[in-house]
């Protein structure tokens, strides 16, 4: 089996771009990725892509070029981008195709997501009585986690402060203004103990990646990054997930634990070797919990890690170096690919003002979302 390389990356700036459709943002990202790899759309042999609420990815060919290539839509909620990447990885690794593109994009209305319970197989009562609210899940998961680990809730504001600080250094981020921990902690409470500035918002944006068999990567770039593994897992009986009217009395590992373990095993890399990590920070408590669930540290160890500055850009384990979901917002179809884009920048040494020092070699990404799924990747240069 051949290895897989990422040889082109493109992005449309995250945030709000009035008057530009999600599809137009996707086309922009695709053309940037092709330019980065020195390719034309007609060179590509396959495409995988998707959005949650901005249209079908396969219709992008009307703008990118009608070349007859197989372009397959992927719709997998928060893991849409990750799932498209997994499909591309398999297509290349199996020898089916040599060169192709993945595209993730979205454009969500302002405000929190409103989801129809029926789409999740839950009765209408769940929405009518005010339980179909994602922010509540994150509030209750972190509440229980703080109770179990004894971690000081003040760390939640510190994590969001870092997100805005990194976002301020990232020209592609949505939120580019630093906000102090004190201001974050004093903001209106959305879902106790989480305030407004600790949450990310649904937004807009697009990311495209050009991938090829690794032994041909040098034809397209002087700085190839290897996609060492990409893994996806759904929930087990006993895990605690968003949109759950009930939980089993017995506890099980989250899909994050299983997907990250699978990704590290497939890559043959230990979590301790990671130089830069992008983990799902739907809110700052999620970053706290996912740091341990992914194996990047032990449960309870995060408080010291964060206090020591280890997760800062110049720390031992820089986390969410582009500002994460908190500073970039969460266009569902594009969010997971944003993390990969950021790690490619970091491994190329091309992240500019938010570059991690010390020439990082190993990057890790982690997505978590409804209805209890996780997708992870390991990248190396």
């Amino acid at each position: 089996m051949t290895d897989v390389a990422i040889v082109g990356i493109g992005m449309h700036r995250f945030g709000r771009t009035d008057g530009v459709s999600g599809r137009a943002q996707a086309v922009h990202a695709a053309r940037e990725a092709l330019r980065d790899a020195g390719l034309r759309f007609s060179d590509l042999r396959f495409g995988f892509g998707g959005s949650h609420s901005a249209g079908d990815a396969d219709t992008l060919v009307s703008e990118l070029g009608l070349t007859g290539l197989p372009f397959i839509n992927v719709a997998n909620g928060c893991a849409t981008g990750g799932s498209a990447l997994i499909a591309a990885d398999a297509a290349i690794r199996s020898g089916q195709h040599d060169l192709g593109i993945v595209i993730g994009f979205d454009k969500h209305p302002r405000g929190a997501f409103n989801t129809d319970p029926a789409e999740h197989g839950i009765g209408a009562w769940y929405g009518e009585t005010g339980l179909m609210v994602t922010t509540q899940f994150f509030g209750m998961k972190i509440q229980r986690y703080l109770h179990d680990t004894g971690i000081d809730p003040a760390v939640l504001a510190t994590i969001a402060e870092k997100a805005f600080r990194n976002g301020a250094r990232n020209p592609m981020a949505w939120r580019r203004k630093e906000i102090s921990a004190a201001e974050i902690a004093a903001a209106p409470m959305i879902s106790h103990p989480l305030t407004q500035y600790m949450y990310c918002s649904p937004g807009e944006g697009a990311v495209a990646l050009v991938l090829c068999r690794a032994d041909r990567a040098r034809e397209y770039t002087g700085r190839p990054v290897l996609l060492r593994s990409a893994a996806f897992r759904s929930r087990r009986y006993g895990s605690f997930e968003v949109f759950a009217p009930w939980l089993a009395a017995e506890r099980a590992d989250s899909p994050t634990v299983e997907a990250s373990r699978a990704a590290f095993e497939a890559a043959g890399i230990d979590p301790s070797e990671v130089d830069v990590a992008q983990v799902q920070d739907t809110e700052s408590g999620a970053e706290l919990m996912h740091l341990a669930e992914t194996g990047l540290c032990a449960h309870g160890e995060q408080e010291k890690l964060i206090a020591d500055g280890d997760t800062e850009l110049d720390g031992r384990l820089p986390v969410n170096t582009d500002g994460g979901c908190i500073a970039n917002g969460e266009p569902i179809g594009a969010s997971g690919l944003r993390q990969v884009y950021e790690n490619v920048l970091q491994l190329r040494g091309a992240a500019g003002a938010h570059q991690v020092p010390g020439e990082p070699r190993v990057g890790f990404t982690h997505v978590y979302g409804a209805p209890g799924i996780s997708a992870c990747t390991v990248l190396t240069r």
Binding site: D116, G123, W125, G127, M132, Q136, M140, H192, P193, A248
Partner: protein
């Protein structure tokens, strides 16, 4: 109608000698519980689920306070309300509204009991009820 009360969904409830309880299911093969009732067992993947009333008392497993009015499909009257997961001993952990929305008066591990509470009124002004948990009264 459950008892004399209009509810958001009568299939969520079951009347017992001790009062109204949540209507769940228990797997005849492996003993796993679910709420609401469902035909398939998420634990052993079988399809031998039996309808059962769930415990009317438990302890608070986690909680939060909804701080802003949710978008539709929410139809309730209150803009802010408590939400929690309640551990029903030996059965499962159920998500529910809480009768208390003051963070100072909520703590993990506190004993709670099931109540039916009005959360909105219908077209003709009749209260529509849902289930909630509130601090257990000492009998």
């Amino acid at each position: 109608m459950i008892g004399n009360l209009r509810t958001v969904d009568d299939s969520l409830f079951i009347e017992t000698a001790e009062g109204v309880a949540l209507r769940g299911s228990r797997c005849a093969d492996c003993g796993a519980y679910t709420f609401p009732y469902q035909g398939g067992c998420p634990r052993c993947t079988g399809d031998s689920m039996i309808e059962v009333p769930l415990s009317r008392t438990g302890t608070l497993w986690s909680w939060t306070v909804q701080g802003f009015r949710p978008k539709p499909p929410y139809t309730g009257t209150a803009d802010s309300y408590g939400v929690g997961y309640v551990e029903l001993p030996g059965e499962l952990i159920v998500e529910a509204r809480l009768t208390e929305a003051d963070p100072e008066r909520l703590r993990i591990g506190m004993p709670v009991e099931l109540v039916l509470v009005p959360f909105r009124t219908d077209e003709s002004g009749v209260d529509v009820h849902t289930f909630a948990f509130g601090e257990a009264r000492h009998d």
